[in-house]
Symmetry: C2
Subunit: 117 residues, 2 copies
DNA sequence: GTGTTATATAACCTATCAGTTATGCAAGCT
DNA sequence: AGCTTGCATAACTGATAGGTTATATAACAC
């Protein structure tokens, strides 16, 4: 399945290594070697993760001699957060109301079945 | 790679079909058939997506006769949102400051490497 | 009972993912 | 010039994802 941009962002965030990389980058830009150091994974593996993060728009590449330091890009994160926020508020607020409403509907259209939870 | 819980949540959110399902569920619980209807995908495919969402803790199963209506569960979403929020605020606010700070650190801890171009 | 509806599960296929090693290449260093 | 460092890329591999069809199960309707 091809991912859309939002999908690519969430997919990128799904991997713990990539999340750790983002956490690291939150405290400042870093070279590939620096980013690879905490993991017992090969450098190419890290480069691949970085490519995923980059395609998701979560990081960008700079240049400093032979280094290609990565830094965070906020945009994608904002989009992801927005998406979540929208629906979080949607049902966080309405949760109790919905619960009651559904219970009501259920007992109306079927004869009362006992509740789960 | 085995996903942790947060990872499973983000992975679940990566698929557009699953996001659409969540959006649908934000307006109330729904049976599998109801959830499957908008898609030109087989019912088993939808059941699989639902299983992914359930393992991620994003939805739960009720029972109503032969129906197994799904409903949203807020917890996982909250966790995901929290994670994003934490880092979003981290660099959204501090972006400019961080930039300057890093420049400073770089020139301090290495002997002055000339500007990063 | 028989048949139907709602859902789950199995078996299968293909594509993508996450890792590996080996190699290439550009930019310093001496 | 020749060696080293930092990174990218290619080719390969095993596992997982996402879809399919076919079948099983469970509750209802007659």
């Amino acid at each position: 399945m091809g991912h859309d941009r939002l999908g690519a962002t969430f997919a990128a965030l799904a991997d713990p290594t990539r999340r750790a990389i983002l956490v690291r980058l939150a405290s400042g830009e870093a070279s590939v070697m620096e980013l690879a150091e905490p993991f017992r994974m090969s450098q190419p593996a890290i480069s691949k993760h970085l490519k995923v993060l980059e395609r998701a728009g979560l990081i960008s590449r700079g240049r400093d001699a032979q280094r290609r330091p990565r830094r965070l890009e906020a945009k994608s994160l904002e989009e992801a957060t927005e998406w979540l926020e929208r629906y979080r508020e949607f049902w966080e607020g309405n949760y109790q109301r919905l619960d009651a409403l559904l219970e009501e509907l259920k007992t109306t259209q079927k004869k009362g079945r006992s509740t789960k939870r």
